[in-house]
Symmetry: C2
Subunit: 454 residues, 2 copies
């Protein structure tokens, strides 16, 4: 039995797949402060025009530049692996496959978009990128990409993570990235927040505002901003995962996949694996596609589809997406990448069009699933990834109960070697499950009152 | 150009290569306290007989059990990668290839022997393994292997590392391993040391003694000891690296390799890559084979070939090897895996027979090389691995100066994601180079007086 199906470099997908081309209704545009659709040129100080064109494109296939493929080839195609150890342990007739995105230099799927973003920026004459990072996955991936492409990189890292995860900051530094705690004294936004709340732990919303400010304020005009999830062009770049997986399943002799699973925070690793399979579903294939989120941040399962800000401070355009309200603050869970109040607009629309079936899982079940995975399969999963694993185990158990030979595919989005403090908390019994009450949910969604309706 | 040459699972080597079969003189035996060769049955309380048979075997090829191959196939064959980014940066005509052993679940080459050791022990009816670990690479690899094979695992981790590297301990715990700080109250040796030196930072020598004691004292007779380097059977298991590399170089169209490089502490990652190429050299191939060690622990470049203990306390048999004297204590360098006073007897004999050319590199140069590697290639190397990279850069620069198109192959033995504190110390200017004086060296070697001569 083949445990690891590699794809030759020459078989790497040459184009990304754009789900916007196949959705039943055209994607809704982001809106500006005036309630009118944002025009591409309005974003030109923030992003380079070549990425803005991808952001608004409805073309089905978009070519991957050969230079981008050359860099991705350092770790791609990622192997499609068979989780035979877990299958045997669960005594399931299901065949479980996973794309191992944890083998990239940064340890997650994030470099799949960091590299093309850095490359397109460089093509556009940009010399420096600014971004924010929460737990540090995205900041380290962008630092890595900038190192290889000779760009400068500055990362505003949420203060509490900056202090708690010094190793993530060090990864960025090894790749030549500059990492500062946010709020910082580098920006007007940061100075204002610090003056009012000197002891603030920071937030992703503040960090986004700082990164955007630093990018657009640079008088040389050679600095831009980069975002690691949510936006259409980010989903696009990640589809290389699912496109590779399809070729590898064919090599494995699997004519059909029954279930596709990915964890969902901003949506990019889920979309990357799932969108190419949604294309098949739109054309009649029977496939169950499951984005998995934490019960403590139930954007897709309990949130509302609405126009909302992408950040807490309301500096971004209004995006049409599932949201818990832009000032929703998730209870502390260890899957930092899944604590976002919103969701990628393309994923949100896919949910509305019935293309996928969201599911929420509590964190203790996720850590228990991660432990079982590590002890039967080997690789230690990121806490985010453990949400997908929990859902996979549910499906595999169901297959056993129903006596069905099904094929389950999921995205092993990253390893957990930088997240062992979370395992420590779990193993010492310090973690608990969280679920917001109906009252809290309604209060949080109340912030959307008066916003345009999609 | 192919950046990553994968080998299909079906092409995995089916046998390990045993250098002992091809050396000019038969390997010298280990000696007991009486100065007489140790007999296999003397070791039966420590190791299972099937591994003892491998330890003393001079058979050229030893079959890899299919069940072992099945587990290794979760991450093997490891890719052979082309370091094109580094080549371009150095403007070298050399073609640089590396085996990426950092992609295993434990992040290094160590699981290549941890898995077969756990498997052979299980075959022999052993239910529990004890071992020691310094920086934690070996302890985590053995915990991983034991988890997959359903054995219990207990790791005595040197106190100073136990305190400084809590994440390594957590890796072991996620894999179900029990990790205690050494010296501990669990053993007579540990209690004695603690009574005399309550604040001792511990040492690998003490930890070995504790692990051996716990293994042989277990009244059930179902516990054995496992060692992660130095011994012949460990070198044997690691040869899968070099055997794979040969097949992959052929796929890459390289008819000949000019230089083979690996860092050397106990010798196992170096031997794993290099031994199959030494076989060719013995049969006339021209290949330069370079084990690289730190100048602060110059076992091969300044040590003596002698009979010496494998541990500080003198509990092991006397081994014929290059050594700095069994109570040599290396100055603190961040490559914890390269601080061992001795060297694998097989590697030592290969040096004596002119099959390889040892080299020593100071640590600041190694970290500088690691930074250059990370920024041109991506993967962050372990501090141990950075020694190999420093030597690779020297060779690549020489090829440029000489205008020679040569093929360089090295072992990327592990990633550095658990060693970022070392990078922090380097980036903050806190590290320095060390080199022992002639006087210190002579004093250390003086401990060998009166020992049998090989």
């Amino acid at each position: 039995m083949e445990y690891k199906i590699n794809l030759p470099q020459g078989e790497m997908p040459k184009s990304w797949y754009n789900l916007a081309a196949d959705l039943a209704s055209a994607p809704l545009p982001p809106l500006g402060p005036d309630g009118k659709p944002v025009r591409p040129e309005d974003l030109a100080r923030v992003f380079p025009m070549n990425l803005i064109e991808q952001e608004v494109s409805t073309q089905r296939w978009i070519d991957i530049p050969p230079e981008v493929l050359e860099i991705l080839a350092r770790w791609r195609p990622s192997p499609l692996c068979r989780a035979r150890g877990l299958e045997l342990h669960l005594k399931t007739p299901a065949r479980i496959y996973y794309k191992n995105e944890g083998l990239s230099p940064a340890g997650s799927h994030k470099p799949n978009t960091a590299v093309p973003q850095a490359w397109y920026n460089k093509q556009a004459g940009v010399q420096r990128l600014c971004t924010e990072t929460g737990a540090g996955q995205w900041g380290s991936a962008l630092s890595f990409a900038c190192a290889l492409l000779g760009l400068k990189c500055k990362v505003f890292m949420v203060r509490v993570s900056f202090d708690q995860k010094p190793f993530r900051k060090l990864m960025m530094q090894v790749w030549g990235g500059e990492c500062v705690a946010s709020p910082s004294l580098n920006t007007a936004v940061g100075r204002k927040v610090l003056a009012e709340h000197p002891d603030t732990p920071g937030s992703l919303g503040i960090a986004i505002s700082e990164a955007v400010e630093e990018a657009v304020q640079d008088s040389s005009g050679r600095t831009r901003y980069a975002l690691g999830s949510v936006l259409n062009h980010v989903m696009l770049h990640q589809t290389i995962i699912g496109l590779e997986a399809k070729k590898q399943l064919a090599i494995a002799g699997e004519a059909k996949v029954d279930t596709v699973i990915g964890c969902a925070g901003g949506g990019s690793n889920f979309a990357g694996l799932a969108f190419p399979f949604m294309a098949d579903k739109i054309h009649g294939a029977q496939v169950d596609i499951v984005p998995v989120e934490p019960t403590s941040c139930p954007t897709l399962t309990r949130g509302r589809f609405a126009y909302d800000f992408g950040d807490v401070a309301g500096m971004t355009p209004l995006l049409p997406m599932h949201t818990l309200g832009h000032d929703f603050v998730s209870n502390p869970i260890h899957a930092g990448g899944l604590r976002y109040h919103g969701m990628a607009p393309l994923v949100s629309q896919a949910v509305r069009e019935g293309l996928c079936r969201p599911k929420a899982v509590p964190q203790l079940k996720c850590f228990a699933s991660a432990m079982l995975w590590a002890q039967t399969e080997g690789f230690i999963p990121a806490p985010e990834t453990s949400h997908a694993i929990a859902a996979v185990i549910d499906e595999a158990n169901r297959a056993r109960e129903e006596g069905k030979e099904k094929v389950i595919l999921f995205n092993f989005s990253g390893h957990g070697l930088m997240d062992l403090a979370g395992y420590d908390a779990y193993l010492s019994g310090k973690l608990q499950d969280y679920s917001m009450s109906e009252d809290e949910l309604l209060r949080s969604l109340g912030k959307l009152e008066g916003f345009p309706e999609p």
